[in-house]
């Protein structure tokens, strides 16, 4: 048995075909067919494929929405605090620094202090 392919032949080489074909020849065609057909039963139906596609799209849209909201919240939280601007505005408008402090404070005033000052 000789294996000597002629690389210059423009036609398929019958010796290569016989030798290489035999070397790669699969066996048990019936078993192979049975394995393929068994796996066909596990394939998703077209409706299931479509449902998965749509659910993936819905998940992607929801994720994008959440990401957008989070980004917006983070961006909002990093803007300069409005107190200094507002304080300047109130101070310049009312001419009272204490009014600016009172109106632009982040925490409400302590009622005891407020009412005490009124009583006194």
């Amino acid at each position: 048995m000789v294996y000597s392919p002629n690389e210059f032949s423009p036609e398929p080489d019958s010796h290569v075909r016989a030798a290489l074909g035999a070397a790669l020849q699969p066996g048990d065609p019936a078993g192979f067919l049975a394995r393929v057909l068994a796996r066909v039963d596990d394939l998703p139906t077209r409706a299931e494929v479509a449902a998965r596609h749509w659910s993936r799209a819905a998940l992607a849209a929801a994720a994008a929405l959440v990401a957008g909201l989070v980004t917006g919240l983070l961006a909002g939280g990093t803007t300069p605090s409005g107190s200094s601007v507002d304080a300047d505005f109130v101070a310049s408008t009312t001419g009272s620094a204490s009014a600016a402090v009172f109106l632009t404070a982040e925490q409400p005033p302590d009622p005891r202090t407020l009412f005490t000052s009124l009583v006194e």
Partner: protein, 190 residues
């Protein structure tokens, strides 16, 4: 090894497109006929790409399942076999690329022989083993090209279409594959 299947027709005589149409209509038997018709070339191409036999057969199974899922996109005006073998080639290459390197199983336990005498059988088995080893020393493109050209009987242009490369690239790959195989087997003695 059986002779290469005449384009679109073999075994029961029903042409591929008719079987495809019946498969698309849900006829499981028609799909089974397509699998029977093309399991040999698909498995050979998978084995040309993947050294490991079980891995190659898994890739061949995946090929038919992928073909079934994509069957509605098959152009019924074109031959079925190159379309299927393109899927087979891509499936096997993808599998090889995505799998971690692992030890290969010995080949040939299920290689069929035509009941020769013991000496001839041993010699034949040795040559086949040597050929498989030599084949897997070739670059992947050479392996696929020589199997599709010399074993499966595709024309250069058809192989170019299957692999998505130029015809000249295929000619070159077949030439180099043959030469490499000849060199690798130069010390082979009867």
């Amino acid at each position: 090894m059986s002779a290469p299947v005449a384009e679109g027709m073999s075994h029961g005589g029903e042409d591929d497109v008719a079987l495809v149409v019946r498969t698309l209509a849900g006829d499981r038997a028609a799909f089974g006929t397509l699998v029977q018709r093309y399991e040999e070339p698909v498995r050979r191409v998978a084995r040309a790409v993947l050294h490991d036999v079980p891995d190659a057969d898994d890739a061949a199974q995946d090929t038919f399942l992928t073909a079934l899922m994509k069957l509605d996109r098959y152009d019924q005006g074109r031959p079925f076999r190159p379309w299927l073998l393109r899927i087979a080639t891509n499936t096997a290459i993808d599998r090889r690329r995505h799998r971690a390197r692992r030890l290969t199983a010995p080949l040939g336990s299920d290689v069929s022989t035509s009941d020769p005498g013991p000496d001839v059988a041993a010699e034949r088995a040795a040559l086949q083993e040597r050929l498989r080893a030599a084949l897997h020393e070739l670059p992947e493109r050479y392996r696929i090209a020589i199997v599709l050209f010399d074993v499966e009987g595709f024309a250069h242009a058809e192989i170019a279409e299957i692999l998505g490369v130029a015809v000249g690239t295929v000619r070159s790959a077949v030439f180099h594959a043959r030469r490499h195989l000849r060199e690798l087997l130069a010390d082979w003695k009867e």
